[in-house]
Every structure is written in structure tokens, then in C-alpha cells.
Symmetry: none
Subunit: 203 residues, 4 copies
DNA sequence: AATGAATGAGTATTCATTCAT
DNA sequence: GATGAATGAATACTCATTCAT
């Protein structure tokens, strides 16, 4: 038996999940509040019992989508592990989160621009802190001699994040792509590249 | 003096450019035919002189967005250059196209899912052929010994394309990111990775 | 300690006061049951504990608004005072009532037309009896020679009531208009007019 | 045969007339855009071809309602006629305007408070200038010795206007009240009052 | 005495689309 | 090549009302 409070919280999450699913599938403007209601088995107007406006629902879904990303990467950075291990954790966490709550993450990635300016800033802050943290991880690896000295940390961070996010798109469609394999391929690519190393310094 | 036909062609392109810009900025469902008209300085209903429906406009913009991608990569593949050179050409072409006609490419990337099923297939074919061509280029490089034997060609191709496309998003925002630098960084990352190579086979 | 019945009465009045205030401020259709609830610190649905429908609330507020008017003027008329005294009492009572329960009187004046036909008749009866009583007071004054013989009693009654009601509108806004001054000015106007009397019958 | 421009203007006026009628009958919030459309024989959404929002329609109707009042009274004041003549012109003009465009005047009187603050100020300015002009006319009459020295000009002006406006309410309902009679009664009331003058200063 | 969760009907507004001119 | 005037359908949002608890 649930307490009323617990039921309320639960229901609220259900509503946000439905909104996330619908926004992810049809896009913010392509989705109607009726679509959300239909997914919940309630009437159109009833969704307004849970959010003030469609826009607010979008904002909440976006926040649910970024939630945890910054915390995770900053925790990893704080532990200051060797580069390869650090990247493994970051990429595993990132792609793992996409797998775990794909809808809200996709909505964050693709639809956050429809959140009105003022409130969007808060959401974008997360994204920027994430990029920055990864950039710094790379810079530290360069300093320590784990990464090549000529790596452009900022741009590499952006490329890396771009790859992870792109995975969100084809994750479901590619049949033979389990999480581990995606992560492994991605890491190998980022760490060592695809080119066969030429033997160097051999007499 | 232009012939009416020539003038018509030009105007038609202007209309598609306007549609591309508006769809890129607000998304397909977030953009109205009135927005397109406003950008052209004509009235709402007048856009129907140029396209049968908003959906058709989207389709055309998407086709304009993919246009050339497949041709380019297949031409490169046909020339069968060494891996590093081939990738340079592919990435330069890809990112270059994004820079050159950003709006329509972005619309292709983000909005093509709103083209109705039947007509979407044709558009998606381009994407699939592109992926496939890159995959094969990589596979050939493996065979030839230019790339490591354990490279997952399919997934690496998808990651690479994902990175290029992600660049479309931050291209305008990042101040210090000229085309050459983006391409250079990306290529270096893909070919050699970020990790400092350990000396091998040295006695 | 109050009996439950007494507490109930009190609370019921509070609810009607809240409804009156909200209807007066925003108009019947511009006010929501939620506005009434907010003013009481309770939830939307809870107001239905006190009235069956918004319409019924309006009706009650209107009745509270007219309440006393007819009784007062008929009592004055029954006493049959001289014209100037009678008018003083009528006007003082009228404007005084507006000052004392402005909200419900304003709602009666402006919103009673939104009470459905059938139930509105009862409310309108009050208004008509009031007009009639004043008209008769004037007619008696004419008969008695207190008022000019050519006074149009019906219309003058309506004008007089119109003036009193109009005062309800600017009562709050005009800074230097205390009840006594309003009443005095109004009476002087109605009794003697503004024109300086020409000396008559002087040889 | 009308020019297209003329037809456009005409139609626009028809739409505003319809809005005025509907707002006057049911009140701003009680009237729906569908009601306006129905009165015009067009569909609900089509009214938005003529105004941006219901609120804007209200504003326009209010402006149409006050239009001319200030100009008229200021023209009269400029001519500086004797009091009784001046008042006759003012009252005739005022009540005449109410008779001529009753709907929009009533909407101005009763519904202008629903125009949002900022834009309401402009509308209220008209009302204030009107009051002020009448107040000054009375003050001049006092100075000239046409009106009693103890007349409270501000308040009398407000009472007078209140009476005229109140007439708008019962104009249609009272069967035996033609414009001339209303005006005559009102003027007599205001100038001379109802009380039979006592003979003064006669030896 | 009140609430939380809904409903269902309405309502302002937007918008793709049409078509006579 | 374009416009003005509409339409009709969708759609976000409001709100009076109900009712189990």
C-alpha cells in the first residue's frame, strides 16, 4: 500500500515519462498534449493538472535528460584516473545514460532549443560544464604525458561528445550494437585511431 | 535579360533557401508557411505558388541537403586513395558541405523524420549509401594493412559520420573553429587517437 | 466557543464576500472559481462545499447587493417627510450602502444580467420597486407644492438613481470625496440646480 | 461599384460593429469570438483575419466608443457659450452619441477595464479630459455669475456625466423616452433642480 | 470541512490550404 | 506572380463541476 505522497510523486514521473516519449518521437512542436494524454489513458485537458504548460513540460523533460551527466563526469574527474580509464568511465556513463533514459536525453539533445531563452540558459549550463570537464580531463592527460602534446583538447572534447550523442540516434536501429561494443569501439577509436601504427625508433 | 524560365529557377531556389532557413531555425513543425513568406517579403498564401504543400517543401529541402554527399563519397571511393588521404577528402567534403549549405543539411539531419514514410525512404537511401561507402573504404584499408585489423568498420563509420554531423551544431557557436582546424583535429583523432604511442619493438 | 451552526454561518458569509470581491473586480465571466478559492486560501473544488454553482453564487451576491434598498426607501416613504429631508435620507442611505458593501452592490449593478432569466426576475423586482418608490415620493412632493409642477417624476427618479450608482464607480478613485460631501453636492444639485436663481416677482 | 480599398475599410467596420454588439450584449468575457463570427456569417477562426486578438478587438471597440467625445466638448468649451446653452449642447451631444452608437459606447463604459493596463491608459485619458473640460465649463460659469458660487464643480461634473451614462442603460427599455425629453428633463434638473423656488428678497 | 485527481466542454488562437481576382 | 479573404481543422489551455477519500 502506497502513501498518497508516494503515489503523487510516482504519477508525476509517469506524466513526465509520457511527455518525454512523445517529444522524442514526434518532436516538441509535432507532439500534442493530446498525444501525451493518450499515452496515459487520460483526457487531454487533464495533463494540465501536472504541468502548467507544454513548454514547462519540455523544460522538465530536458532537465530530467541532463540530470546526472555533470555530476558523473565531475566525480570521475575528481578521482583523476589515468586517461584510458577515465575515458572509459565517461563514455560508458554517457552512452549508458542514453540507453537507460533515451527519451529524455534525446529530448534534451534535440528539443531544448524550443525552451524559451531565459529558462534555456540553465539547461545549457549543464552542457557547457560537461564539455569543459571533459576538456580539462584531456588537458591533464596531455600534461601528464598520457596524451599527445598536440591534441586540441576543446575540439576533441566536442568531437567525442558528438560521437556519443550521435550514438543515441542509431542505438535502437542497429541490430548488432550492444552497449559494450559501442563503448569499446568508440574508446579504441578515440585512444588509438584506426591507422596501423608505423614502427618507430627501431634501429 | 533573363528568360522567364531562368528567372523562375532562381526564384524557386530563393524560396527553398527561405524554407531551409526557417525549418533549420525553428524546426519543421515550429515553422509556419507565414514565416517562410515573411522572409521572402510576400504574403502567406503566396508561397503556394512555389510548392504544393509544406510537406513537399520539407522534402525538397531535405533532398537539397543530402544532394552531392553520396556522389562525392562514391567518387572518392572509386579513386581508391590511401586511407589517410581518402579520409581527408571525405571529411573535408562533409564538413565543407555543412559549412556551405548549413541550413538544408541541418534540416536533412534533424527534420527528415517528418517527411511521410513513403517519400522518406528515398531520402534515407542516401544516408545509407553514404554510411555504406565509408564502411567499405575502411574495410579496404584494413585489407590493405593501412588500418588496424581489429577495426569495427561499420561502427567506426557511424561514429565518424556522427562526429562530422555534430560539428554542424557547434560550427557557428565556437569562435575559434575554422573549417581547416576542425577537419585537421578530426582526422588526427580518427587516424591516430589521442593516446601517446608507446614505443614498440625497440630492443 | 461557537456552535458549528454559527461557525458555518460566518464562513458562508466569508465565501460570499470573497465571491463578491472577485466578481466586482473581474466581472462574473472574468472571474474563476479558482480566484474565489485563492482569496479564501482553499482549493478550487472546495468552494463547491458552499455553493452549488458559480451562477448560484452570483445570484446570492446580487441579492446581498440589493438587500435593504427597497426596505429602506419604503420605510422613508411611509414616514412621508418633506421633500428635501426625504431625498437626503434616500441619497444618504443609497450612497452609504454603496460605501458599506461596495462589492456586492457593484456586482448587483453590473453583473446581474448574467443571472439566468428566471431567477433574474426576482432580483430585478427590487430595482423596479426602488425606482417606483422614488418616483412616487417625487410625485407627492409635486402634489404638495414642494417640487415644481413640471417635474417629470419617472425620469427624474431614474436620473437620480443613475447619479447615485455612478458614484459607486469613482468613490474609491476620487481622493477628496467623503460620503458627506458627495451626498451634499448631489442633493444641492437635485434640489436647486446649479444655475443662479434670477430674482423674481420683485417690483 | 466599390474600390477594393473601400470594401476593405467597410468590412473592417462591420467586424468591429459585430464585436461591439456582442461585447455590449454579453460582456467581454461572456462573449466568444464564435459569437462575433456567427453575427457576421463567417467561421470562428476567420475573425482573426481582422484583429490579432479578442483583446485588441475590445480595445478598438472602446476607442470607437469614446471617439468624438473629447473633441466635441472641447469645441463647445472653446466657443464659450452661456452656461445653459453650453450644457444643452454637451448633454445633447453626449446622449445623442449614446443613441447613435450605443454598443461601442456601452462597451467603453462597462468593459474598458478588461483592456490590459498599458493600453487602457490611453483610453482612460479621453475620459479624464472629458471630465476636466466639463469641470472647467462649470467653473467659468461660476466666475461669470451664471452658476451659484458654492457649486462643487468637480463633483457636479462627475454627477452630470454619471447621469448621462446611466441613461445609456435604460434608454432602450423605457418606452416613452425620446432623446429630446431625456435631454430636457436632465437639463432642467441640473440647472434648476426640482425644488420649487421660494420667493426671495421680495419686500 | 476540505482536497486531489480528474473530466468534458468550451474557447482563443494558429495555420495549412484554397481560390477568385 | 502574387494577394486578399476566407475556411476548417487542429490545438493549447481554461474552467466549472464531480466525487472518492
Amino acid at each position: 500500500m502506497r502513501t498518497p505522497a508516494a503515489r503523487g510523486k510516482k504519477r508525476e514521473e509517469e506524466i513526465l515519462d509520457a511527455a518525454a516519449a512523445v517529444f522524442a518521437e514526434r518532436g516538441y512542436h509535432g507532439a500534442s498534449t493530446g498525444d501525451i494524454a493518450a499515452r496515459l489513458g487520460i483526457r487531454q485537458g487533464s495533463v494540465y493538472y501536472y504541468f502548467r504548460s507544454k513548454e514547462q513540460a519540455l523544460e522538465r523533460v530536458c532537465l530530467a535528460g541532463v540530470q546526472g551527466f555533470v555530476e558523473r563526469i565531475e566525480a570521475i574527474a575528481a578521482a583523476d584516473p589515468p586517461l584510458s580509464e577515465g575515458l572509459r568511465e565517461v563514455v560508458t556513463g554517457h552512452v549508458g545514460a542514453i540507453v537507460a533514459r533515451r527519451d529524455s536525453v534525446i529530448v534534451f539533445l534535440r528539443e531544448r532549443r524550443h525552451v524559451p531563452r531565459a529558462r534555456r540558459r540553465r539547461i545549457n549550463t549543464h552542457a557547457r560544464r560537461y564539455e569543459r570537464a571533459l576538456e580539462i580531463m584531456l588537458a591533464r592527460a596531455v600534461t601528464r604525458g598520457e596524451a599527445r602534446a598536440d591534441v586540441d583538447c576543446r575540439m576533441t572534447a566536442l568531437h567525442l561528445i558528438g560521437m556519443c550523442n550521435a550514438a543515441a540516434v542509431w542505438l535502437g536501429r542497429e541490430p548488432d550494437a550492444p552497449l559494450e561494443r559501442i563503448v569499446a569501439t568508440l574508446l579504441r577509436l578515440v585512444l588509438d585511431g584506426v591507422a596501423k601504427p608505423v614502427k618507430r625508433k627501431s634501429p
